[in-house]
């Protein structure tokens, strides 16, 4: 039975081991699989050539400059989109009348594929950073607004009444109850927004301009440098992960009062 007493640490170590094993198998498959199946490197470049292309791109293609541009656009789009989503969400949540008036338009905008606006924004703002940020803003806005609106709507009316029995003003009720009670759903919205912002920026960069990872992606594809497109995709993913992790870290600080089980670890 000594097996069982050690089961837990072994289980976790086994889990980490398995994760690493998956990565190794994946890399081996990536490196030798294409050759084995006679897939040419301009279709799927092996892992090693992507690895070398990464260093090559740092020198020749200014990879870190483009990554930085994409990162800044993502941050700007995310912050502006979240703030707008929060503000509109709070206003509509508090005023049923406003929601009644605006909800059909908001629904229509929500269903419209936001990335389809990218070419239009390029026409309006040219090959600048603005169209990219704007697409990100549009994409980030909705999940956050919807979450905030829903959370304000579902605040326990008894909680509001409790504040009212102490003669709270409307502003106090918002500040001390509704705003705070809507925090956990707000952060779920921010997590989704953080992963979406990078999509908006990448599409904006692919449509117009020569800066950012989206532009690198298009350049790589157009010049037959498939390894470079892989590098760009990996760097886009890294930027997305950075944004997501930043939100999770802030969330852990702000929502520290929640019982552990209510946290999603991912």
């Amino acid at each position: 039975m000594s097996d069982q007493t050690k089961a837990k640490p072994n289980g976790i170590q086994g889990g980490i081991g398995a994760s690493i094993a998956v990565a190794v198998v994946f890399l081996i498959g990536w490196e030798w699989g294409p050759g084995f199946f006679n897939i040419p490197p301009y279709i799927i470049p092996p892992a090693s050539s992507v690895y070398f292309e990464f260093f090559h791109a740092i020198e020749k293609e200014n990879l870190f400059f483009h990554t930085g541009i994409t990162l800044l656009e993502t941050i700007a789009g995310f912050i502006i989109g979240s703030l707008m989503g929060m503000i509109i969400g709070y206003i509509l949540g508090i005023s049923p009348k406003a929601e009644f008036v605006f909800s059909p338009y908001i629904l229509a905008l929500q269903i419209a594929p936001k990335v389809a606006f990218a070419p239009l924004f390029v026409v309006w703002f040219g090959f600048t950073v603005y169209p990219k940020i704007l697409v990100a803003v549009l994409i980030v806005f909705f999940p956050i607004m919807v979450n905030v609106l829903g959370a304000i709507r579902t605040v326990d009316p008894d909680m509001v009444n409790l504040a009212r029995t102490f003669n709270a003003t409307r502003w106090q009720i918002f500040k001390m109850i509704e705003f705070r009670d809507a925090m956990p759903p707000l952060f779920s919205g921010l997590r989704i927004g953080a992963t979406l912002a990078i999509i908006g920026v990448a599409v904006g960069e692919m449509v117009g301009g020569s800066e950012g990872l989206g532009a690198v992606l298009i350049f790589g594809g157009g010049s037959g440098n498939t390894a470079l497109t892989f590098v760009a995709i990996i760097m886009l993913t890294v930027v997305g992960i950075l944004a997501y992790v930043a939100v999770v870290l802030v969330e852990k600080r702000v929502l520290h009062y929640l019982p552990r089980s209510e946290f999603n670890s991912i």
């Binding site: 009212r164 102490f166 925090m183 929640l258």
Partner: protein
């Protein structure tokens, strides 16, 4: 007995309340009459229970007393002021503790004072005092989810007492607790009410609780609810319900039987028998 009106802390004068019936169709009434013609007064320092069948309008009466909504007929007076909106004279406590998850226990107790703009130093003094009194010392920096149900309800009581209301309106404050915790909290409440000489109007479904804790019990009818009986509990030891239950067992049982008869508990039970 002093019975001049100025001795009343809270007074309902022919109070009625109707709600718009949301499911109103041609053959349904347009209004639900929740309560009608309720006359009820609680003297200074008295603890009065309100019992009645589910849906008879007890909570409605309390909500009107706290000023959350207005009667459709009649008036309610607290300290001789007509209640037309929530006011600092009345403290309100529900079955749900309604502690705010993002505030520590101390901050939760200070919630009402903070709304009322009481300066931080005084708030702190007051909450320390109540933490002590409600036996929550050592838990001031805990968050609500870290406390047991009984402790949370004590914190809710402390929050209600913190604003120093002259009348407490309690809507089934202990009905979500297990039997043992409930008795301990009843004891706490009774001691506190007696020590602070507070006036309280208390809704409960627990007939023994109403007899153990109060000076008087008001019995309400089915909806449309109105007061059908007022019973004085002529027993000592209101400040110590455990002793009252123990030392006056027989008398408590007689009162409970009487209340059961008034509420037709026996008949209702036989109706649902299979």
């Amino acid at each position: 007995m002093l019975d001049s009106p100025d001795n009343y802390r809270i007074e309902y004068r022919s109070v009625g309340k109707q709600f718009v019936n949301i499911q109103s169709t041609g053959n349904h009434d347009e209004f639900i009459i929740a309560v009608k013609e309720v006359d009820l007064a609680v003297r200074d320092g008295e603890v009065v229970s309100l019992i009645g069948p589910s849906g008879c309008g007890k909570s409605t009466l309390l909500n009107m007393g706290s000023g959350l909504y207005q009667p459709s007929a009649g008036d309610i007076y607290v300290d001789e002021e007509r209640v037309d909106r929530p006011n600092a004279h009345v403290g309100f406590m529900l079955q749900k503790d309604l502690l705010l998850a993002w505030r520590t226990i101390r901050k939760n107790i200070e919630f009402g004072l903070e709304i009322q703009g009481v300066p931080a130093i005084i708030r702190n003094e007051r909450s320390s005092e109540l933490l002590e009194k409600c036996r929550l010392s050592g838990f001031e920096e805990h968050y609500p989810h870290q406390l047991s149900g009984g402790m949370r309800q004590r914190a809710a009581l402390a929050r209600t007492l913190a604003a120093d209301p002259s009348v407490l309106l309690l809507d089934e404050p202990f009905s979500a607790l297990d039997a043992q915790t409930k008795m301990i909290l009843q004891q706490d409440l009774a001691e506190t009410l007696a020590a602070e000489k507070k006036t309280a109007l208390f809704i409960t479904h627990d007939l023994a609780e109403s007899v153990a804790l109060s000076d008087r019990v008001f019995v309400m009818s089915q909806r449309p609810g109105t007061i059908i009986e007022e019973i004085d509990i002529d027993l000592p030891l209101r400040e110590n319900p455990l002793a009252r239950r123990h030392d006056w067992q027989k008398d408590v049982a007689v009162y409970v039987t009487r209340l059961m008869e008034l509420l037709h508990v026996g008949e209702l039970a036989s109706e649902v028998e299979i």
